[in-house]
C-alpha cells in the first residue's frame, strides 16, 4: 500500500489514477496512522513552497514523513513534493524544507538564458547521472513532462538525472530510500508510468 499524502496542496486525482492504472494499491490520506502503516509514501505538491511546508507542519505530517524516512521507508516526492525534501528553498524568501536530502531549491531566473521561457513547461529529455532502480524500465534520453520555475541545486550526492534547459537542471534525485522527480511522472505518458512502476517494486 502506497500512501499519497493529502495535505491540502494540489490535485491528487491524476497521481492516484496513475497508480491505480499500473495496478498499485494506493490510499490518499492526511492521517498520520495510515501514512505510518503504508509500505511507501508519495509526497505530491503543486503551488508555493512556503504554503506547502506550512501545511505539512501545521498538520504534523512533516514529523511523520521525516520519521518514516529515517526508518527506511521508500518515499518519493513529485514536483513541489520533491523540492520539499531538501534543506532549504529560496522561493520568494528563504524557507526550511524537510531536510531529508542535502541541497536547496532556487529560482531558474537569472541562471538560464534570459530569452528562455519560465516556467520550464513541456517535455524534456532525461540525462542519467547514476544508475538507480527507478530507471529499471526507462532509458537515458526518455522524455518527461516538466512544469516548474524553481530547481534543486547543490544536491550532487543525490543527483540521479538532469534535463537540459540552457543549463542542466535537476530532474531526478535519490539517496537511499528518499527519492524525487521534478517533473510529473503521472503526466509523462508511458515513461512516467514506468518510473512509478519501478518505485512500486522497490
Amino acid at each position: 500500500m502506497i500512501a499519497i499524502v493529502d495535505y491540502g496542496v494540489g490535485n491528487l486525482f491524476s497521481v492516484k489514477s496513475s497508480f491505480n492504472y499500473i495496478g498499485a494499491e494506493v490510499i490518499v490520506t492526511g492521517n498520520a496512522e495510515e501514512i505510518r502503516k503504508a509500505d511507501k509514501i508519495l509526497l505530491p505538491g503543486v503551488g508555493a513552497f512556503e504554503d506547502a511546508i506550512a501545511k505539512l507542519r501545521s498538520t504534523g505530517l512533516d514529523k511523520v514523513i521525516i520519521e518514516e524516512a529515517k526508518n527506511g521507508k521508500p518515499i518519493m516526492g513529485i514536483c513541489l513534493g520533491m523540492q520539499l525534501l531538501f534543506e532549504k528553498s529560496y522561493e520568494f524568501g528563504e524557507h526550511e524544507g524537510l531536510g531529508l536530502l542535502s541541497g536547496s531549491v532556487v529560482p531558474m531566473k537569472g541562471v538560464i538564458k534570459e530569452d528562455l521561457k519560465i516556467p520550464h513547461i513541456g517535455y524534456n529529455a532525461l540525462i542519467f547521472k547514476k544508475n538507480h532502480p527507478l530507471f529499471k524500465y526507462i532509458k537515458d534520453g526518455d522524455y518527461v513532462y516538466f512544469v516548474h520555475s524553481f530547481y534543486a541545486k547543490d544536491c550532487e550526492d543525490s543527483l540521479l538525472a538532469t534535463t537540459e534547459y540552457d543549463k542542466e537542471l535537476t530532474a531526478i534525485v535519490g539517496k537511499d530510500n528518499v527519492m524525487g522527480c521534478q517533473f510529473h511522472p503521472e503526466k509523462s505518458g508511458e515513461i512516467g508510468l514506468n518510473i512509478l512502476k519501478a518505485f512500486c517494486e522497490m
Binding site: N11, S14, S17, E186
Partner: protein, 252 residues
Amino acid sequence: MITKRIIPCLDVKNGRVVKGVNFEGLSDVSCPVELAKYYSSCGADELVFYDITASFEERRLFTDILTRVAQNVFIPLTVGGGINTLDDFDRVLKCGADKVSVNSGAIKNPQLIKEASLKYGSQCVVLSVDVKRVDGEFLVFSKGGRENTGIEAISWIKQGVELGAGEIVVNSIDTDGVKNGFDIELLKLVCEAVSVPVIASGGAGSIDHFIELFNEIPDIDAGLAASIFHFGEVEIKELKKQLKENNIRVRI
C-alpha cells in the same frame, strides 16, 4: 531542450466526440475515452477537450467523461468551453484536468484570469483567443468566433498574460478550416508580444504545414488541430517522424 508539442483537440457533446472521426481499429470512434487512449498511444503530447454542451445535465455528463479519460490517459489534459467562473475551474480540475482554457468568459470578465491564476497557478490558466482580420486589424471574436468584440488581439493577449495566463492558444478564424497552413503572420506577432508558451491553431492541412510552422516561428511551442487528426489526414506518428527528420525536436 523542450520539444515542440502536438495537440489534438476533441469537441465533446452529449458525452461523444463530434465532428466525426474515422479510425480503423477503434471500436467506438466517437467515444472520448477510446480516442484519448488512441491519441496518447500515437504520441500526442497533450489533449484538449472542448465542452460544447449547453445544459446542466449535459455538463455533468461531460465531467463524467473527463473523469474517465483522466483515469486512463496520462498526458496533460486541457479543458475548455463554458468556463466563466472559478467554480467552473474547480469543477473540471477535480475531474483530472491539468489546465483550463478560457475564452469568452475571460473577455466578459478579465479578472477571471487573475483570480484563477492566483488560486491555481499560471500554469493552469490557458487563454484561448479567436482572431480575425477586419480592415487590416487583428480583432478578437467571442462566442465561438461569431461575435466581433472590436478588441485588438495583440493587446488583449498581452493583457491576458499580465493578468496571469500561463499559455496562449491562438486560433486564426481566417485560416481555420481552409487547410492552407497556419496563420504565420498572426502567430509571429503573438510570439514577439509575449513570453509564455504559444500554441498555434487553425489552418493545418498537412504535415508540411507543421514543419513550416516550427521552422518559420522557432519560438512557437505547439501546434493544435482537430479534424485532420480525427479523419486520419495527418497521422501523429508520421507527423512526429517527419518533424524529427526536419530537425524539429519532438518526443518520440
